[in-house]
Symmetry: C3
Subunit: 162 residues, 3 copies
């Protein structure tokens, strides 16, 4: 019953992971950058944001016009883009040994104190897809002033691959 591989879990969960090999990494539109760098077994990904081909998911500011639930959803969508970025970089999610660490950015107000609850939208997804042993990564989350184009969330992920 339990799906064994990350790709099987994505299928059984019905997750909609974009195809950056076919469509390209959206980050190129943000300036002079590449989507990732692979050095030995460490995969360093560029920033990922809650963006789909339909637009930006829940733009705005936590504590003002984006709820924690919406922020959580935005972080989950961001996680799907991270999965797309890993596939683009190393071909298959099965090569992932572990999520190393993510640094997460939440656009919020001064008095918002729940930035960590937003990031769990992404890290819960990683555990669903990779299982707890490979999917649970180190983490920190920072409330920031602003992100490009009004995104409410961005992540900066390092992954270990075989």
């Amino acid at each position: 019953m339990a799906a064994d591989t990350a790709e099987e879990r994505i299928a059984s969960l019905g997750l909609d992971v974009p195809d950056f090999v076919r469509d390209g990494y959206y980050g190129g539109g943000f300036g002079t950058m590449k989507p990732y760098h692979l050095s030995g077994s460490l995969l360093f990904l560029s920033g990922h944001v809650p963006r789909t081909n339909k637009g930006i998911v829940h733009p705005g500011r936590l504590g003002r016009n984006v709820t924690v639930k919406q922020g959580y959803e935005a972080a989950r969508v961001t996680g799907l883009n991270v999965l797309a970025g890993i596939r683009q970089a190393v071909g298959s999610l099965e090569r992932v040994t572990s999520i190393v660490r993510s640094l997460n950015f939440v656009v919020c107000t001064e008095d918002f104190t729940e930035v960590h609850k937003v990031s769990s939208g992404m890290s819960d997804l990683f555990v669903e897809v990779f299982g707890p042993e490979r999917g649970l990564g180190g983490r920190a989350t920072i409330g920031v002033m602003a992100l490009a184009n009004g995104h409410c969330f961005e992540t900066w992920v390092t992954v270990e691959v075989a």
Copy 2:
């Protein structure tokens, strides 16, 4: 007279380093994450904050209701948690070859320009404990909008271990 090892220095300085092996890493309460990831000789720690078993040290905002001296103290307490995290990850502080780099976050007002003075509370501690050769790390410090639960400081540290 001079204490030779990090553990001896901790004893001679009378530092109160928590025990994450016994008590667990507090970060689990913040969401889906693990305390660290070790990849080869690089130890990637999750975020650490100025929190003890008595509560949060100097919550608030630099430039408003937390002084530079208080921020420095909060960063020093954060450093004790980092030491606890290193012990939890690799068993002994003697395995530390070098502090690689820390990225530090200070909750502050728009016109606060001394974020770097806060971080030295942590980096001074590392030099006291490991000595200048191993304890001096690369560093950057950023003034941010907010952190989880009103903490005024958070760090994101990478360590090299033998």
Copy 3:
């Protein structure tokens, strides 16, 4: 006609790269830190800011009193300091295999949505100096509350070296 090496490109472009070997890394004035850490082929640099021996370039806040064009210039000056830091760390820019990734911080207002356009001042420089294959790095850019001494930009770079 095309200059072949990074050092030749710096000469042909007439770039003014500081000499940290002679003058020291300016970051020491910000607190207890070292300029870089080299671990295997990964060079982890401390924070770099838009500072020359004449002072801070375009201090202030994007969206208020620093234009995108000025921010771009500040990021380019920051990139010159990064080049100086790489030279200090490994002796020659020819040892650079690739810019791995940069995390960039832009001091801005809440409604500023073009933080990415600022960072391109630095990443465009890297491509000019190293060429696209080695000079194009991963990237993310965050709008922040404040940086030390009123700088409008700071970067946190990882480089791969041979």
